[in-house]
Symmetry: C2
Subunit: 392 residues, 2 copies
């Protein structure tokens, strides 16, 4: 079944020949100029399309986003800049718009020059195939991902209905900060540039920036938001803003969780809830750190509720000793550590629950009222296999 | 073949019954009161023996170090403190010295109470078996280690010869900061308390603190140094100090490398040399960070000279973009990246060299004169197997 785009958007994906047989070039078109915002990697090693797109957003006249997979166009020097511009120019020529109205993203092997001729040759076909579903695009941007990642919602506002459709990709080199892998949030709501920027940053901070597959930060992390206003419906009231923001959060978290669930070699989704933190900064540091610990990730792969590795890791990130003595650690609703020591475990019940596909770890630091949630995945032998063999 | 201890030291190791069949209790005795120094984990979750030993050193009257393996005595609350004291008291009673002359260390499962009765019952036997070789002790302190780790050197000083013998253990939860796993540096040189402290800190900073197996910091990391003066030879001249310091560096680096070579699941030793750094702090951050990157570790497991993952990781730790554009990355003496782009690779030569057991990565940042070396190991499916099954 295919997923429809919000009004006024078209999308497509084709095989241009960078990858052996999978689709590797995707395009999103906004029929009317669209408000556009973006958040990008904080890595100082930035890909050419990131440097390029970062300069263009926020904007109110975006016509398209082009994305190639298989080659990241990162660490490619001045040639990478030229090739990215050529890719964007080829889109602009087909759409009869200015190049500065076209955003770009790339994902794949670092350090390899992109196959610019193959990409440009495929452009007429890519534009010709544009249609009102998002599926071909979602498939064309994948690399080591096993499944495409799409989420959509219709949101009722005071002035009428709007649609938000999101797409993401990502499986390895996932520990975003500021933005993540590739994400695209498209809506036919009528947003101002400032609204789009604020909403995107807020949604990203609670979703894509709270996931980790392997603690690695990509050179290409990008999330774009396009709001083309085709529904004619704006955020007229504070209630509208809240409803739209909540829907955007839902979609972003849904897409972010799809990334970790499809994490390289992942067999389980790990959800870490930190409660009772003295402040949100510490809550986030602790939550994200637990999702990158190889010993915690392997324990969960082995279905072991290993609280010893958790308390050691909390100490590693300098959670004060008094908090370690008073905190509570809960696996799947069962308290395993409290009051400074191991709790009488319902061993059989816990063992059974550790077989679940989603493992929840809740830690109440009992030191305040801040809370947060982060998502990660287990570490399996398959992660090693994928990354010892894949050149990326 | 067994390794002799420096003059005036005795050691032993027995099976007291915590572990199924491997030896699990070790003792080092200094016949005369010895100068003692220690460096310890910076984890805020500290084991009872760490809190205890930290209070006693530096000192000039140390008689013994007792160590149990299989149970870490960490996150064990007030009971852990009582049991550690009981272990130390049992040694003091046998040796007829004060408890405050006995240091202690533990390694193994976090959160489990140590089997104090088994440990105390074995104490007379442990003391009775003390002899002038270090091998039984080195075996008794192992956990997931596959091999014991011993290094020794005879050092010629102006006043005569002294011996330094070192022992270490560690295989997982290895990313020390300030101290590491368990390490013991024994010498019959005549050192002042200050000399012992300074020499230990300096040697640790260049060896144990520069290794990583999995980026995890233990609750029990400890390195002890005992100098009993039994040779009658002191560090009389600056030249003596330099010679002794160099020998201690050699032994510490040798023991530290043995830990990563025996890292859980490791098949290759990775040596990272950072050159041309603007300062030593940045050099160390970069060098250590590269040794914990799962994508670099898996690439090397797959014998791939993947410089793209290295440049991405340099950007992750915020090495400025201009340095990324000017740095040189060398695998096994072959330049793979320079002047902002991939270099023409001698692909066959490089591929052959990547099969070696020791992989050297040298990065010249061309931004100063500071340099450093860190050691790590590859990440294999066996690491997952060990840690998905082992409860630690």
């Amino acid at each position: 079944m295919s997923t429809a785009l919000p009004k006024g958007f078209l999308a497509s994906g084709v095989h241009c020949g960078v990858r052996r047989s999978r689709p590797d070039l995707g395009l999103i078109i906004s029929e009317q100029p669209s408000v556009g915002a973006g958040v990008f990697t904080q890595n100082t090693c930035v890909a050419a399309p990131v440097t390029y797109s970062k300069r263009l957003v926020p904007a109110s006249n975006i016509k398209a986003i082009v994305t190639n997979s298989g080659q990241a166009n990162a660490a490619t020097g001045p040639q990478g800049v030229i090739y990215n511009q050529a890719m964007v120019d080829a889109v602009a020529k087909q759409l009869n718009c200015a190049s500065s109205q076209v955003l770009s993203a790339s994902t794949g092997v670092i350090g390899e020059a992109i196959s610019i001729n193959k990409i440009c040759d495929a452009m007429p076909d890519l534009v010709a195939q544009a249609n009102d579903t998002v599926d071909d695009f979602a498939a064309a941007i994948l690399t080591t991902d096993l499944v495409p990642k799409i989420a959509t919602q219709t949101v009722k506002l005071s002035g009428g209905e709007v649609v938000i459709t999101g797409v993401s990709k990502g499986s390895g080199m996932i520990h975003p900060n500021m933005a993540t892998m590739l994400g695209y949030l498209l809506t036919d709501a009528k947003l101002s540039v400032t609204e789009a920027e604020d909403l995107l940053k807020d949604a990203t901070d609670h979703s894509f920036n709270m996931i980790s597959v392997d603690g690695e930060m990509s050179t290409n992390d990008t999330v774009f938001m396009l709001a083309n206003g085709a529904s004619g419906v704006a955020l007229n009231t504070n209630e509208d803003k809240k409803i739209f923001q909540a829907a955007l959060h839902d979609i972003s978290i849904c897409l972010a969780k799809k990334i970790v669930q499809d994490g390289e070699g992942a067999t389980k989704l790990i959800e870490v809830n930190i409660q009772g933190a003295p402040n949100e900064t510490l809550a986030k540091i602790v939550a994200r750190d637990l999702t990158i610990s190889p010993l915690i990730k392997t324990a969960i792969h082995g279905a072991s509720p290993n609280w010893g590795r958790i308390i050691a890791r909390l100490g590693f990130v300098k959670v004060p000793e008094e908090i370690l003595n008073q905190c509570t650690i809960i696996f799947q609703d069962l308290v395993v550590y409290a009051e400074g020591k191991q709790q009488a475990l319902k061993a059989d019940a816990l063992k059974a629950r550790m077989q679940d596909d989603v493992i929840n770890i809740t830690i109440d630091l009992a030191a305040g009222s801040a809370s947060t949630t982060a998502w990660g995945c287990d570490l399996s032998a398959n992660y090693i296999k994928i990354n010892a063999e894949y050149v990326s």
